[in-house]
Symmetry: C2
Subunit: 301 residues, 2 copies
C-alpha cells in the first residue's frame, strides 16, 4: 500500500456518523457547492434520526450499522460527542477499508488521536479535524448549509497521516466555504482550551454562583441585558461540555488556573483601591477585544 491510494478523484460516497448540527451542515454545504458530486450515507444510533435525516435531505441513504457504512464510504466523517468516540472508533476499526479516509469534527484532538490509536486504526488514513463553528442548537433539524462559510476549520494531521488524505479533507472543508488551518494536536488543544472551553467553564460557574448565592427571584429579577449575553453559553449542552472538559482535562485545567491567577490579581487591585491599575486592566481588555471584534466582523463580510 502506498499513499497514492487516497485521491480526490476516488471520493464518491461520504459517510456521516452522527447526524446532528455538524454533520448535517457539512452535507448541506457540500450538496450546495458547485463542485458537488457526492453521495451521502448516514448513520445514527437512533432510527428516528436516520429517518429524519433522509426526510430533510441531509443524506441520500441511511444504514443501520457502522459496519454497513464503512463498507460503502470513501470518506467517513465522525461527528458524535467526545466520549462516544472510543466506541465508534472501535467498531469502525473492525470494518474499515484500507482506502477510506476517516475524519472527525471533535472539539478536542488529543483524545481523538489517542482513541484512534487505542482502536488500532491505521493512522495514515485518519485526518483529525475541528470546525470552529456551532450554535447552541443541536440535532437533525439544526443543520444549515451556511454554518461553515467564512469560519475556520483546524486540521491536526498525525505524523503518520497521509498527505493526500489531508488534502482530500481540506478540499471538502474549503468547498463548504471554510478557511482551513493546520496545527499540531497539542497547540490546538491548548489554544481552544483558552478561547472556547474556558469561557464555557466560566459561564457555567457564574450561573452556578448566582443561583446558590441569592434567591432565584432576586438574581434574575435584577439581571440586566448584559447577563443574558454573557450567560448564553451556559445554555449549551451539559453532556457535550462535560465530555470536552474531561477529554481536554490537562489544557482546560491549565487555562482555568490561569484565569484564577488573573482574577486573584484583580481582587487584590480592588482590595488595595488601586484605581490606576484597575483602569489599566479594563482599558487593555476593552481595546484588545474591540480590535479583535473589528477584524472578526471584517472577516465575516
Amino acid at each position: 500500500m502506498t499513499e497514492q491510494r487516497f485521491s480526490r478523484q476516488s471520493v464518491h460516497t461520504i459517510g456521516l456518523i452522527g447526524l446532528g448540527l455538524i454533520a448535517g451542515s457539512f452535507s448541506l454545504a457540500l450538496q450546495a457547492s458547485r463542485k458537488s458530486r457526492y453521495r451521502f450515507v448516514g448513520y445514527s444510533r437512533k432510527a428516528e434520526n436516520r429517518e429524519a435525516s433522509l426526510a430533510r435531505g441531509l443524506v441520500h441513504d441511511v444504514v443501520p450499522s457502522i459496519a454497513e457504512l464503512t463498507a460503502c464510504c470513501d470518506v467517513i466523517m465522525i461527528a458524535v460527542p467526545m466520549l462516544a468516540m472510543p466506541d465508534v472508533l472501535a467498531e469502525l476499526a473492525h470494518h474499515v477499508r484500507p482506502d477510506s479516509i476517516i475524519t472527525d469534527a471533535g472539539s478536542v484532538k488529543g483524545s481523538f488521536v489517542a482513541a484512534c490509536e487505542a482502536a488500532g486504526l491505521d493512522m495514515r488514513q485518519v485526518v483529525p479535524g475541528h470546525p470552529i463553528a456551532g450554535t447552541e442548537k443541536s440535532g437533525v433539524a439544526a443543520g444549515f448549509a451556511e454554518l461553515y462559510r467564512g469560519r475556520r476549520v483546524v486540521l491536526t494531521p498525525h505524523k503518520q497521516t497521509s498527505h493526500q488524505a489531508t488534502e482530500v479533507v481540506m478540499d471538502l472543508w474549503q468547498a463548504c466555504g471554510a478557511e482551513v488551518d493546520m496545527m499540531a494536536v497539542e497547540q490546538h488543544d491548548r489554544v481552544l482550551a483558552a478561547t472556547s472551553h474556558l469561557p464555557h467553564m466560566l459561564a457555567f460557574a457564574l450561573v452556578d454562583t448566582l443561583i446558590t448565592r441569592e434567591s432565584d427571584e432576586q438574581v434574575f429579577r435584577y439581571a440586566a441585558g448584559g447577563f443574558k449575553d454573557f450567560s448564553r453559553i451556559a445554555s449549551s449542552d451539559p453532556v457535550m461540555w462535560r465530555d470536552i472538559a474531561l477529554a481536554n482535562k490537562t489544557a482546560v485545567l491549565d487555562a482555568m488556573r490561569d484565569l484564577q491567577t488573573h482574577f486573584d490579581a484583580l481582587i487584590a487591585k480592588i482590595e488595595n483601591d488601586d484605581g490606576e491599575a484597575i483602569v489599566q486592566t479594563f482599558a487593555n481588555a476593552r481595546d484588545r477585544r474591540d480590535d479583535w471584534l473589528e477584524s472578526f466582523l471584517n472577516s465575516r463580510q
Copy 2:
C-alpha cells in the same frame, strides 16, 4: 418645614446633571409621555455637551453651573460617574432649595448615600435610585426614549427620605415606562454586585487572561462566536467600571470570592473526573438560566 413641601403638582422644572445616555433617555422618555408638562434644564461640565443636548432637544435650556441649575429646578436628576458624585453633591449642597427633590441614577447606592451625608444634604429631600438599563454606548448622542420601557428601576429611600418625594420620583420613572421596586441600600448593593458587577469583573478578567496567555493572533483567530457575546461587556467604559468596583468594594469583593469558591469546586470536579457532578452543575446552570430567559423575554413583550 413639613413633608408636604414635596408634591407632584409642584414639579415644573427638572434639572439634569450629566447629559449622557441615562439622563438623555430619562428626558426623552418623559417628553414622549402623554402626561409630560415639564421643562428640562441641563448641566454638563463640558460646554460642547451642553450645546449638543440643546441641539438634540434633550433639554429646553442649559446652564453653565450647578448653582444656576439648583436655583431653578424642582427635581434634580444626577447622572454622572460614581466617583464624580462627591464633588457634584458638595456643590449642590451649597445652593439647593429646601423644596427641591434630589435623585440619582448611580449603580451603587451605599456610596451615594454616604456622599450625600458627607456633603451635608438634608436626606429628607434625597431619593436614591438606580435604573437597571443601559447599553455599551454613552454620551449625548446615545439617549433614546425607549431605554426604560419595561425595565426595572430600584429606589432605595433613606430612613429620613420624605415619602412624598419618593412618590414624585416613582411617578417620573413610571411615566418613562419603567417598573419601580423599593429595596434597602445594602440589599441593592449586594444583589447588583452579583448580577451585574461580578459578570463585568469576570469578562474583564477573561480577556485579560487570554491576551497575556497566548499571542493575540492565536487567541482571537480561534475565538468562536460565543466569545464575542461573552466578552461584549468587556468593551464597557473602564472608568465607569473602576468607579463601580471601588464604590461597591465590599459587596463586589464578596461576590468575586464566591465565584472563586464555585470555580475552585468545578476545577476539583474536573481533576477528579467526576463526570456526574460536572453534568449536574452544568445542567442546573442551564435549566435555571433558561427558566430566567423565558420569563425575561415574556416580561419584555
